[in-house]
């Protein structure tokens, strides 16, 4: 997806949630017998359209992806509409080659670096928001919201311009700061520097979500807890470790998982920045699947890579959901 505008269930949840009242005891609200029986099918009928479109447009492509990954599907088969099953050949090809494992390693490092930066800086900025006065807080919030709202492709284009070899602001600043080698530096020329630009872009776009939600969560910490801590003689640092941090821990866990999922499958930023280049050196798993599958027209192999990526994401996602569901057992 797409939009980096999502929420987590946190202590900072809205008042709306409270309205989800407990079910009426013993069906006290059920009307006379006949409408109640007729009403038994109603929820399923209301849910039918949603379930149907989800099954057809989400479920079926997932199944199809699995099926494609066991097929020999190159331009010839594609054009002639041939279905050639080739067992696990795609998987042995993918898993047996060194390319795939390089990409996996790269994806893991890329994701780790981004998530560490996002969570670290996002948390610090969130705590700063809580400490600022009203006016300064509004100012910083405005900045964060602007970065958050910026459409991904527009942001990617702007970052290409900021880091442009000629007339880019980044190079000018680095040059003025005394690093003259950077005066005409080509950021998209090497693997590391391309990843650096993409990382700055993703971190810039992701911090607002973490910082704003974290700030919202801190506002729900009961004041009495701090008073009790200071009565016990706790200093600023101790009251942070004994009150603030434990309170925010569930939020931080959940958000870290979300960011891992989101960065791991990031597609537009990397692709629109440099199409996985230079020399295919910045292809992470989703880009690698796309380039192998569509670019090089090895659709079966691409599907196998996709399927492996989906499995990884599914494991992370189910971990995340288990955690979130445990936190709000009573609210479903």
């Amino acid at each position: 997806m797409s939009v980096q505008t999502e929420g987590t269930d946190t202590a900072g949840g809205p008042a709306v949630r409270k309205a989800t009242a407990a079910p009426p005891p013993g069906g006290a609200h059920a009307g006379p017998a006949a409408p109640a029986r007729r009403g038994a099918a109603a929820p399923y009928l209301l849910l039918l359209p949603a379930l149907l479109v989800t099954a057809v447009l989400l479920g079926w492509p997932l199944v199809k992806n699995g099926m494609l990954s066991f097929q020999n599907l190159n331009p010839r088969q594609l054009i002639q509409h041939l279905t050639e099953w080739n067992g696990v050949a795609n998987y042995t090809e993918v898993l047996g080659g060194s390319d795939f494992w390089h990409v996996v390693e790269r994806s893991v490092f890329f994701t780790a670096a981004n998530v560490v930066l996002i969570m670290g800086l996002g948390t610090l900025i969130g705590l700063l928001l809580a400490r600022l006065g009203r006016r300064m807080r509004l100012l910083l919030l405005l900045g964060l919201v602007l970065a958050w709202a910026m459409p991904v492709i527009a942001a990617t284009t702007v970052y290409q311009w900021l880091f442009a070899q000629r007339f880019g602001v980044a190079n000018w600043v680095l040059d003025k700061l005394g690093w003259h080698a950077m005066a005409d530096y080509n950021w998209l020329g090497t693997q590391f520097s391309t990843f650096a630009v993409v990382t700055v872009l993703i971190v810039w776009q992701s911090i607002p979500f973490v910082a704003i939600n974290l700030y919202a969560a801190t506002t729900t910490i009961p004041r009495e807890l701090y008073e009790a801590a200071s009565l016990d003689g706790a200093g600023a640092w101790q009251s942070f470790t004994s009150v603030t941090f434990p309170f925010l821990r569930p939020f931080l866990y959940a958000t870290t998982f979300l960011e891992v999922i989101w960065v791991f499958k990031a597609f537009p930023q990397i692709f629109a920045m440099n199409e996985g280049g230079p020399d295919r050196l910045t292809e992470t798993l989703p880009i690698y699947a796309f380039v192998e599958g569509v670019g090089n027209q090895h659709f079966g192999v691409g599907a196998a890579i996709s399927f492996l990526t989906i499995l990884v994401l599914l494991v992370i996602t189910s971990y995340y959901l288990r955690m979130v569901l445990k936190q709000e057992e009573d609210e479903l």
């Binding site: 997806m1 797409s2 505008t5 999502e6 987590t8 269930d9 900072g12 809205p14 309205a19 989800t20 009242a21 009403g39 929820p43 209301l46 359209p49 949603a50 479109v53 989800t54 447009l57 997932l62 494609l68 900025i125 700063l128 400490r131 600022l132 300064m136 910083l140 900045g143 602007l146 958050w148 709202a149 459409p151 991904v152 492709i153 527009a154 284009t157 702007v158 311009w161 900021l162 442009a164 000629r166 007339f167 939600n213 919202a216 959940a254 979300l258 999922i261 989101w262 499958k265 597609f267 537009p268 692709f271 989703p286 796309f290 599958g293 996709s306 989906i310 959901l321 979130v324 479903l332």
Partner: protein, 276 residues
């Protein structure tokens, strides 16, 4: 608690530095778009444009197919959001107001669907769409975007429906309304702000979507703005003024929507553990 003067100054200083850091790329996009080319390709950046020109915007707007692409983007976005709102409204009502077997399981299903890795499913989607002879068409785009935003729409609307006091509905029914009438006359008007906020995120998703249109629609007459924007710079030979003007045009509707609806939408969103 007393704080030293230094203790009051440093958080504010950091806040200002951060504000500048977060705003700068957005500012620079607009500033570049309005600057004459001479100021854009200057040895020292012109931080505040003094001469303002609209020529870059003219160039972007007159690029081939621009208005077709705008129309495509608007059509796909509006249709997919409306489609998902209608479908989601039924589902959200059932999930928020009714007790039935499998309800919890369904909510978890929608949460899982919300995190579907669409970016990684594009090869399979391409094959399916191609097998149905629908490449280079806005119909599959609309349908897939609707499903992309559907789970989030359902989960968010569920919160808004649940927030309408049950008593309102019941008293309408006591006054002789059927359940459907009660919904249409009582709940629906109260849901309006929720619908607005929910649709914002659908709008952003559909407006920004990139991987699917990249693979499905090779015909430029059937593409959408994100794809056009991503290829703009190459097409215009590093004309940064025009590129930034194009970016500004693309980003502006979303920035405006977001700032207006942000507060409402964020509080509604936190209701249904979600991430795109």
């Amino acid at each position: 608690m007393r704080r030293s003067a230094l203790g009051r100054i440093w958080p504010n200083t950091i806040a200002v530095v951060l504000f500048v850091g977060f705003v700068f790329p957005v500012y620079w996009m607009f500033a570049t778009a309005f600057k004459p080319t001479g100021d854009i390709i200057a040895e020292n950046p012109v931080w505040f444009p003094t001469d303002v020109t609209l020529s870059h915007f003219t160039k972007a707007v007159h690029a081939d197919h621009f208005w077709t692409l705008v129309l495509n983007s608007v059509t796909v976005t509006v249709c997919s959001v409306l489609l998902s709102l209608v479908i989601a409204l039924f589902a959200a009502f059932a999930l928020a107001r009714m007790r039935f077997k499998g309800r919890r399981g369904l909510i978890v299903t929608f949460m899982l669907a919300q995190m579907a890795p669409w970016e990684v499913m594009i090869i399979a989607i391409y094959m399916l769409v191609r097998d149905n002879d629908m490449l280079n068409s806005l119909v599959p785009l609309t349908a897939f975007y609707a499903v992309m935003v559907l789970p989030l729409t359902i989960l968010t609307l569920r919160g808004y429906v649940a927030a309408v006091p049950k008593e309102l509905e019941e008293s309408a029914m006591v006054d002789g309304c059927t359940r459907t009438q009660a919904f249409v006359r009582v709940i629906f008007p109260l849901l309006a702000p929720g619908l607005m906020a929910t649709s914002l995120f659908g709008f952003i998703t559909a407006w920004n979507e990139f991987p699917l249109v990249l693979i499905l629609n090779k015909d430029i007459g059937k593409q959408t703005l994100p794809l056009w924007l991503s290829q703009f710079r190459t097409a215009f030979g590093d004309d940064w003024g025009a590129t930034m003007a194009a970016s500004s045009l693309f980003a502006l509707p979303i920035l405006i929507l977001f700032i207006f609806l942000q507060r409402k939408a964020v509080s509604g969103l936190t209701d249904g553990a979600v991430k795109g």
